[in-house]
Symmetry: C2
Subunit: 448 residues, 2 copies
């Protein structure tokens, strides 16, 4: 394996660079032709790597690339998810080299998409090539590569719903996340789900002069603040009855495993420029974002928000509120619970309406599952350290959708590092991570 | 008196109509020439009525009209305040006649400004004419008529500060408010003051993904809601220490007088389309807006406020908050108290900044004062009922400024009625109120 990679490394990089040179910025209209170009180049590369089927599928947005090699329908199938679209490059003047002319400096590839996600998805293409070319392929392999991850994957769920048979698999394998550090590999085995509600509080049917009516007529903004404030108690727990019913308490052993992740609270606070963290009593910061649900106001508005002062008693107040859920919580059930709760605490002097936004369930791959075990063994072999089972907050929303639509768990085996500054200028990806990633993925197939 | 009015009524109306025909909409740039035209027409009418000095004074905004007749500096002086600017007429298609072509229908004048405030200020001009022409003037009379009341009087305070000597007087007499009803005259003897603060809560230095950080990093919108919610307790009382120190409790007798105002709570709720009123425990609705202070959020914003859902944990949250104060509360003192309180309750996991906006003290003319007594006697004579001493919420902000700058109390003897729908299409003013108002003002001078 190492020999094959060593012998072909320059070609691997040249192929990757051919992808990186295409400015596939999904959010900018002017790059629409580049999206198709990038999808077509992926089809070429997948075919060269050994796919017996590889095709660009149009969607209502940017195209989807699907490729597969089915060697025996009775064998298990790995579905690789990735995305070929990239973030914009502004402020482009802060780049030390052209974002679309990849360069190798100090052992790293510098380019937009070097890591996120062209670099990471391409490791899967090359691991597949190795297995295929050396006759070691023991699984059916499918690739689903979208061009809209950076803009919220507006088309993939619909496309997947229409191609369920095509996408049938046993595991969704993804490299689009980071490891804790170069020395501490980690596997993201769970992500939180989402419930999302919008609240509208209406008081009087028109804006009033606060001088005339203030003190006698309920102010919908004050009422909304009261309602929101009552949703979380002094211990940071959500007060909605039944909210925690399906939240599984982790065993001391599992919590100890999570706690192995090296986490520097002071660095964390410094990075966010906050003096203190805040969250549910009795849990660490990593637990609060990994294994506990939470409630956040994502947006609030009402009354006069311009310059200066206006003494208005507003007619309406609005808030967007979302809950992050742990995998055992059902998004629809929680949405309904919280909606009912909000309506039940609505005081008689205002009218409260609740609108539901799109939510989704979280997921969790048990550490005992064959896929997790295979990934863990593979990474241990490559890094010499057993990976930490981490829990991501909710980084790739489409994965929860795909899991729901296809009924397949995703496993997040990411090789990025914080230093790669994805989404920012001078995005990079360490060559060592690129090649170790290919090795780890090959070993995953060996142990899965 | 009645004979004089009867004999001249058609001329009075024709003169008023000449003002109403000028579209002096202060908020619309295209009416700038009309503002000057209207001011100049007022100067003519004031001179014809007997002013020995009447002049248009430029300001940085629309001009001010000042006029006076000084008969004897040792006599007391009445300063009449009014405004000649009007609200826009949109939606103009809902008017039954041209807003700037006054018409008399069913005993009322229909035109923009018929009541607010051309109709009401003109009663003062005609009362002055009567006193002057019939040799009954026993006071010095001054008029200060501005052209910016409907846009918040941005220039008058500065102009008044520069003309304190010119404006010296014993009472500011104003007709720019409503009576309780045609059968129940009222005199507005107090208005609440104002403290106004803007709060900014900053959490992390950038917007965060709520999936990654939610539950572990304080959300500034949630924190702001908590802070706002804590400012008012379950009894509707403001929790800021010392806030009520200078609030004078009215005697049972004074409360009984206030309670004479016929007030229909069901009508009030119906008008505002609310199911329940809400306010400080132990006080009626009229007391809550008249003799008690209050706190309102005038505007709130933070995070994502567009269409749909975004899972952002915002970096900032903002609110504009104002307190209505009773006359014994000092606006600056309260502003400082509340600012300190807000900073003191700021939790360590966010940064809280407070910005002060312009505030002002309330005022209260004692029922026992000569001016109130004169007005009360005058209205009793005209309406056959003793007027109710009401307290307005804070309708004419410039009056508190004028009181502060000039050190003179304002007395609000308004003759408008709810039916007049000022600021809306088909503004009107009952002829009976116009002529009774002239009588009552003449009698005010007799008894003052």
């Amino acid at each position: 394996m190492k020999e094959y990679i060593e012998a072909n490394k320059n070609r691997f990089l040249e192929e990757l660079f051919s992808l990186l040179r295409i400015p596939s910025v999904s959010s900018l209209e002017e790059h629409k032709p580049d999206m198709l170009r990038c999808a077509e180049r992926l089809v070429e590369l997948l075919k060269e790597a050994g796919a017996d089927h590889a095709e660009v599928y149009p969607t209502s947005g940017h195209p989807v690339v699907y490729a597969s090699r089915i060697i025996d329908p009775s064998l298990s199938t790995v579905l690789v998810y990735g995305h070929y679209d990239v973030q914009p490059v502004d402020p482009v003047e802060l780049w030390n080299s052209d974002p679309f002319q990849p360069e190798i400096r100090d052992g790293a590839i510098y380019a937009r998409g070097a890591n996120d996600d062209k670099g990471q998805l391409f490791m899967h293409v090359k691991a597949f090539e190795y297995l295929q070319k050396t006759g070691r392929l023991r699984h059916n392999v499918k690739f689903i590569l979208e061009g809209e991850e950076e803009i919220g994957s507006p088309s993939l769920a619909e496309w997947a719903s229409g191609h369920k048979d095509l996408l049938k698999a046993d595991i969704i394998l993804v490299s689009d996340t980071t490891m804790i550090s170069e020395q501490v590999p980690s596997i993201n085995c769970g992500m939180r789900g989402l419930s999302y509600l919008e609240i509208k509080v209406t008081g009087p049917d028109k804006d009033l002069h606060s001088g005339h009516y203030g003190g006698a007529v309920a102010n919908p903004v004050n009422v909304l603040c009261d309602m929101i404030s009552s949703l979380i108690d002094g211990d940071g727990r959500i007060t909605v009855k039944g909210f925690y019913d399906d939240v599984v308490e982790l065993s001391a052993e599992d919590r100890a495993k999570l706690a192995r992740a090296p986490f520097d609270l002071e660095e964390y606070k410094k990075f966010l420029k906050i003096a203190e963290v805040k969250g549910e009593k009795g849990y660490t910061t990593l637990e609060r974002t990994g294994i506990r649900p939470c409630l956040d106001v994502n947006g609030i508005w009402g009354g006069y928000t311009g310059e200066g002062a206006k003494t208005v008693l507003p007619s309406e107040a609005h808030a967007k509120i979302s809950m992050r859920l742990v995998p055992d919580q059902d998004s629809e059930k929680i949405t309904e619970l919280v909606e009912k709760h909000i309506l039940s605490i609505a005081p008689p002097y205002v009218r409260v309406e609740v609108k539901r936004h799109h939510g989704g369930n979280g997921f969790l791959i048990p550490i005992s599952s064959p896929a997790y075990q295979a990934a863990s063994r593979a990474m241990t072999e490559v890094y010499g350290v057993e990976p930490v089972p981490s829990r991501g907050g909710g980084s790739i929303p489409i994965l929860a959708d795909l899991q729901k639509i296809l009924g397949i768990d995703p496993l997040l085996m990411g090789f990025g590092l914080e230093r790669d500054t994805i989404h920012s200028p001078n995005e990079s990806y360490l060559l060592s991570q690129f090649f170790k990633g290919i090795e780890a993925i090959i070993l995953f197939y060996r142990y899965y």
